[in-house]
Subunit: 353 residues, 2 copies
């Protein structure tokens, strides 16, 4: 599609609507990236780079501190929720909540605060909603780390109810494998039914009470869930394998190795194949405390995994701060409250004045 | 393929080899059916009918009793086990055990016993190894029931170790459905994990001790097996449904309704969807006792389901009697012992003399 013109001087509500009305499902962000790049290149105080369909824009004021404002350009697939629609005090439409509202706020800051009190690095990136390999922020950090790594702090504009959600939990995924022996079901006693033998694994999950871990005064409530169970060879065969896939959300105070040891310990006696571990991000309130105060309100722990963990891995403390209720993300009825848009823009402006 | 000539005067071993060497995977029995039909039409004491790729041949001697000798012509797909091979005292090859050896014995009787003491109905049928809808015997019973229903007794030449395996167990298949509520795994406590809640279903299966039911002095050992477990929505979603598919092999003394009530009782409190029930077949030793004596040895219970149940449903008592070890059926290394072939032919000849 032709790249539309984005007017960054327009009100944050109009800008959010314009962003929603430029579809950018993961993998198809080119038109929106073109529009964002064009609008940012028109601003003389920014140096703009492009990496794939991600755009980075930096001030160069020589401030002692540099802060990243980051948001992803992509959305999940449309669900009959286009074009954008303003209904009372809400902007509805695909990505309004996750996270074009946040991108609009960041673009307003880029255009409207040409001499911020901290140097700013804006990152608008592609493919956040899909597998990690395609993630645009990951690609920037891999190919052009210098564009981002010199920051002392990062604000990820993920929907956070216009409040600060600090850090994020880690994720471990593992297959717990229960083995048996095949047999014809007409002579079931000649085999060992792996599905039957999986009962203790599921019972352990059912009885498991996730820990609540306090880090920097924030309570990270963990979770351990079977997300899949698979057994079955044929309709007349006693299955010789049952695989229970578990998803463990762990507090950012645990390392990947600790998370793995925890899961292996829970399922001692079973084969446990860890398929993925991604670390969380500590809230680092000692390093981001001033910002949290400026953005107002008590910080909450972020329970879902977000790209703040990529900044944390880089040594850059990061927090989630953006308009919209995170539980509305990916729903057909997602919206962003106008009040959130205005509050986020206003508080960031004040902090950067 | 061109239909070969079958020489029914040849030795039962040669005939078995010739049958194996005429491939007849389910759905592709035409060439073998043509050969069998041709060979039987050459026998003046038989009246031959064809239904699809199944062949029925009847004597018409006016005997007070009529007996069916039945065998299926089809095999499972080849597994590198063609052509037939005589190795010592065994005939190896696709279908040698299940059940071209049995078909060879029946064909030898058809050709070699022109004036049997009972009227005979030979049924050589297609598509036994595939879904019931395609079963050739089922089709004959549906389209031309008169060809079979006037018999007082049926012998199904399924591999039975050259002994009598009486009756067969029934099969009930059901889905036990455990329900929960979806949630994001980052907030797992907001949902109800259906996989976790399936633990008691699997435990009940694991602790279940199948009954041993004695019918006519034969012990039918039942079985209750999970043959599949399925749960899973996405890698970050608490699943809202877990389905455990159970396979219940029940003694022929139980009706379909009793079998269903038994399974529903075991999983009381869960949604149970019965997807299929096929009744078993009672051994009917009071009605087939003389034949059992003639065929020698103590009858054993048949644990797998066979087409004897179709005869039973018709009111015709039936038993399994054929050469070959049933546990070798469908294996690449299947074979039939020459001693079984000769014993079966010899005992049937004697009984029909």
């Amino acid at each position: 599609m032709r790249s539309p013109h984005l007017d960054l001087t327009a009100d944050v509500v109009s800008l959010t609507r314009a962003l929603v009305d430029t579809p950018s499902e993961s993998g198809a962000e080119a038109a929106l990236a073109d529009a964002v790049e064009g609008a940012l290149r028109a601003l003389p105080h920014l140096v703009v780079d492009r990496v794939g369909d991600s755009v980075v824009a930096r001030t160069g004021l020589g401030r002692p501190e540099r802060v990243v404002l980051a948001g992803h350009l992509d959305t999940v697939p449309a669900a009959g929720n286009l074009p954008a629609r303003l209904d009372g005090e809400r902007v509805y439409g695909l990505g309004a909540c996750d996270m074009k509202g946040g991108v609009a706020v960041a673009l307003r800051i880029a255009a409207g605060v040409p001499r911020p009190s901290r140097d700013l690095t804006f990152v608008f990136y592609a493919c956040e909603e899909v597998e990690s390999d395609r993630n645009g922020l990951r690609r920037i950090l891999a190919e052009r780390p210098g564009l981002v790594a010199d920051a002392g702090l990062a604000i990820l504009m993920e929907p956070s109810g216009a409040g600060v959600e600090a850090g994020c939990q880690g994720i471990l995924t593992a297959d717990v494998v229960v083995r048996g022996e095949r047999a014809h079901t007409a002579r079931a006693w000649q085999g060992i039914n792996a599905a039957h033998k999986a009962a203790p694994v599921l019972r352990r999950l059912d009885e498991h009470r996730a820990e609540r871990v306090v880090v920097d005064g924030l309570e990270y409530r963990e979770g351990l869930s079977a997300v899949a169970v698979r057994a079955g060879v044929a309709g007349n065969v006693v299955p010789d394998e049952c695989v229970v896939t578990v998803d463990y959300r762990f507090a950012p105070s645990r390392s990947e190795a600790q998370a793995e040891a925890y899961v292996r310990g829970l399922f001692a006696g079973y084969e446990v194949r860890v398929t993925e571990v991604v670390p969380g991000a500590a809230p680092c309130l000692d390093r981001v405390g001033g910002l949290v105060d400026a953005l107002g309100g008590r910080p909450r722990p972020k329970l879902g995994w977000t790209d703040v963990a990529r900044f944390a891995a880089l040594g850059v403390p990061a927090l989630n701060y953006g308009p919209g209720d995170p539980t509305l993300a990916h729903t057909a009825g997602e919206y962003v409250p106008v009040a959130h848009l205005r509050a986020c823009e206003e508080r960031l402006r004040r902090w950067l004045a």
